[in-house]
Symmetry: none
Subunit: 216 residues, 4 copies
């Protein structure tokens, strides 16, 4: 699935080779697992010789980490792009949708970045990069909390809860189970907010009103 376009042959752009290797590795790691992905397999899928891997990556492990960090950075970037205007809820929703778009475009990335299997395998530097993702999200949630939009409790915890539910959206999108406009997506995004949002409108007797506009 998703083999990069086959290039005629010979005298390849070196950058190109590196990319082909990274893509092949990403695809294989996330479908077969790290150990089940052998270096001969990566090389074959990338259309290069086994030894060529080591011209571009110090080791198989380093290859995983580079692909991993690149993946995390993509999600972080989407997170940072989040429009500073708008309430916490709106911003989170925006993030969720951007992420969902990434998941639709690069399903393998979701399996790589949001899988405990890889998070556990990855080196300290990669873990730091991942922590950045978490930190950025917590910042967003903390701001919402300061604004009274988030319920009481640690911002980190709320970030965790929200993330766990949004991961469901990413997973189903990556798997192709849910298309971009599947109503379940909005449902989960709403549920994620319900799990962390301040109970204002909900405790009152007029439950849904302010949120109707939010729907979709």
């Amino acid at each position: 699935m998703a083999h990069p376009p086959t290039v005629p042959a010979r005298k390849r752009n070196p950058r190109h080779t590196r990319d082909r290797l990274a893509r092949a590795a990403l695809e294989l790691f996330t479908t077969r697992g790290y150990h089940e992905t052998t270096t001969p397999l990566i090389a074959t899928r990338a259309g290069v010789a086994e030894g060529t891997i080591y011209r571009h990556f110090a080791s198989k492990d380093e290859l995983l980490n580079e692909v991993y960090r690149a993946g995390v950075r993509l999600f972080v970037a989407a997170l940072k792009e989040s429009d500073a205007r708008g309430g916490c809820r709106g911003r989170l929703e925006g993030v969720a949708k951007r992420w969902r778009d990434i998941a639709a475009r690069e399903p393998a990335l979701v399996r790589l970045v949001f899988s405990d299997a890889f998070t556990a395998r990855v080196d300290e530097r990669s873990r730091t990069t991942l922590r950045e993702l978490r930190a950025e999200l917590e910042k967003l949630v903390a701001a919402g909390k300061a604004a009274g939009e988030i319920r009481h409790g640690a911002a980190e915890l709320h970030a965790d809860l929200w993330l766990r539910l949004i991961e469901l959206v990413l997973d189903r999108t990556a798997r192709g189970t849910w298309k971009s406009d599947d109503p379940a997506i909005a449902q989960v995004i709403e549920a994620a907010w319900d799990a962390i949002g301040a109970p204002t409108g909900r405790t009152a007797l007029s439950p849904g009103a302010p949120r109707v506009e939010n729907a979709t």
Copy 2:
């Protein structure tokens, strides 16, 4: 030509040895991962010779699967014990607490049963056992939905959402981050309910009506 053992037999223990092996394997698999857990390592931890593993388990893979299924069964049992009386919310809360107790007692089981890394590695039979867990949970949620306690949307989705958040409790408990009486636990359990409970049901006695308009 042959290879007589340098050191002969040693102990005596029928079920004991098997248990030691299972425990050692569980611990190692969940802390180091499947491939990083070598058979010599398991044997050493269990205090037996490497070959002894194979008197009790057909293969390393089978060892994983047996430990895995035993773990799943424990969670399923706790789920089935759930008091049939009481509303869906109460029953889910009961399940969450029983699971948290298991997590406190056997932290490794959480890492084994609720980790995609192992769920992906495990054989068909084990997967069937896991499906039972999911089915049981969905049954509970579906009943709640029929009673109007759960918001609209597929029961499976709600089961998923709830489970994802409760997994956070299990994870933190297994890690020892949260003790049994940590207030965060109740907070997450509440958040999990907020993510799937019918909105009105929480404020009033009349459950779902006003939220119909919310749909999509």
Copy 3:
């Protein structure tokens, strides 16, 4: 965690290495037996590392089979070369001599191809190749039978009988007990014919006459 080779690559040789492995294996299999021939032993004899075996043969078993089939093919080729002119007796004698030459050149091949130990171990494909040898020989005998040179009875049986006696020639030649010109060879070849040739044909038209004096 991984296991980088302590000592790196070494030589350069495409077909050469494969041949060395095949020869070493042939020699060892036929002198020590299949199980007594370990892969480290084969590698050492071939002057390569153990892992190198698996770059050229899928498994130890496959190595045996490839060597085996190559051996059988050599004997089949000699059989097919058999001059179509001349009576059955002459042709059989020609085959026996060609085979004896092979046995002199490659003694190990005799032990490999004409040994029930290997015939039993070998895979279906190899067995088919061996059946070709038998079929070819039977064809030759059947032709002789049609020409009235072979005594009554199934051609397959006669082929079997002849082969069993010729195997003695091959075995003694392979062992070095009999040199190429040892009179025993002609004696066995004659005996083999006597065991299957039509009784009258020998008294008639000269062929047998000079041999009368040979008696005792």
Copy 4:
């Protein structure tokens, strides 16, 4: 095939246990090969525990050798029983028939005693026992030669030739391909004689006459 009669249980006659082990081993060695026959397998087939093997035989290797020698002795006995009266031809024929009877009764013995695989595996003592078989046969042939019945050439060679052909009878009988009265048996016995007998009767113009009655 041919499992010895199942004995109820408990407190077995020790001699009996030893026999059961020997029989199980014989059967397994000859059908699966030495290495493919594991000690647990032998024990299971004999209906005893693994350790029990070592109460009766020093090692697996010793077990093989004891079974082997017992087998050889059986054939030697049949050879020695050979009626001293009668010509060499008659005596050889008698031996062949006695052996054929053994082959019919104990097919596994043929595969054990007349297989190069086992002959190569067996220890020096067993080889000596086998040499006795050969020596006895050579004695018989040498006597025939002295009487002018056997053609010129070394008696050992003639013994070898005759044996090789008779092995075919034993093999086919052991396999069940030929029943005791199969005409092929007489045919092979005749062929075996033709391969070594002095060419007297055959050079004459009256080839088959006296031998017709021999046929069966």
